[in-house]
Amino acid sequence: MSLAVASSSEAPRARRGAVGWALGLIVPATLALAYEAAFRAGAVQGRLLPPPSVVLATLWSLARSGELATHALATLARVGLGFVFGAGAGVLVGALTGASATARKLLDPTLQALRAVPSLAWVPLFILWFGIFESSKIALIAVGVFFPVYLGVMGAIAGVDRKIVEVGRVFRLGRAELARRILLPAILPDAVIALRSGLGLGFMFVVAAEIMGASEGLGYLLVDGQQLGKADQIAAAIIAFAVLGKLCDAALVIATRPLLRWRDSHARAEEA
């Protein structure tokens, strides 16, 4: 029964998604083609901004030599670790301050103050504490991931409808059961959004961390390209960042989708 309902609404949604994708491609594809044409016609030199064909060729050779994979994996590992630490802490602390007014009064002002610090300002301190290698980079990424996750989870828990909580009370759920059977599912949609923005910030911060100094990673490709004046390599790295970020976000969405199947199709359509 539930299967029939789910699949009947799934098919048109997938088609609408594909059309949306195609629409979104029109503008960048047109721009790229126009630039390529201008380059071929000799109207632009393409030294500062190489044409798409050159960038793609660079990307291809990086991929063939295996360098792209090495750098992408290095970046991915940093984001992954930073995300696990930052999101883990964000969920825990957010759950605590969301559920308990005392904890909120105690912790939230401090965390808000820390949030006001531009995150790159931590860099010198982290280097001092953790050295210039991986630990300081991961710490920086974790800080970037922490705040949106913390804020999202805290807001979601504090905002759970009292009426729904009362249903749990009427059925005499204990604290743990209330958390598991009512609060957790109720905050899940907001928590997923919080995790996604956390992941987005993770990618922002990995660039900063890798520009600070790294011997591998997509950020290293950026710096290296700048130092050697290879604009095509910079562009290739930027594209790789975009693709990697989008893929990770999509993976997160797909991984959590089975948990959110119950939501209104309106909300789901908006998300696509």
Partner: protein
Amino acid sequence: MLRLDGLSKTYPNATQALRGVTLEMKEGEIVAFVGGSGCGKTTMLRLVAGLEAASAGSVEIDGEIIREPHPWVGVIFQEPRLLPWLTVAQNIGFGLSALPRAERDARVEEALLRVGLAGYGGRWPRELSGGQAQRVAIVRALVARPKVLLLDEPFSALDAFTRASLHDHLLGLWQARRPTLVLVTHDVEEAVTLADRVIVMQPRPGRVFADLTLDLPRPRDTLAHDFSDAKRRILKALDGSLQAEAQAAATPDTVGAWW
């Protein structure tokens, strides 16, 4: 069986929502509470449900004092309050997690059948109409087999046809195990259709104004003479409660205008 003894509630903002309500309800009795807005009907239900603590007095079921939600007490709210992340069947079985799976499934199936929703078990709550959702809420409370079922204006958001069919469903379900029903309503017709006894409340502070027994045969015939007589009695009592309030508030221009 259900005893309210000097039940009073003063909210932290000093509103005296209920003062000294003493009532005794019999097993299997259907009692309707009517009264103007703000006379403490919801407050009384929440106290009986154990969702709110009394300022004074007590609620007792078969001699046991109720201070927090109790397995013998089921609640149906004005809105269905289904959990949107559970299917219809899972919602109905929500309070039965202590039962073995087979028995839970059997009870849920039977409940769906009884309210004409066989085959709807796999749907999400968002795929139900308002009347269907309220039917699910009713059986969710009933599958736990409470001795007392509290209903706070459960049909007020529904159209007249749906409401009438839900009255039938409710009476059918009630017939099976005969729990005590405590029904808050704004609809005098609904009170006469369902109740054995109608209690008219009076506000500021909330208290009992009149306690009327309806001796009509079931099923009730809305066109019969005794039906309209009963309606008239209740309306008169309601009018009296409003006049008493109006005199207390010294604003005679609103007397009787409410109806």
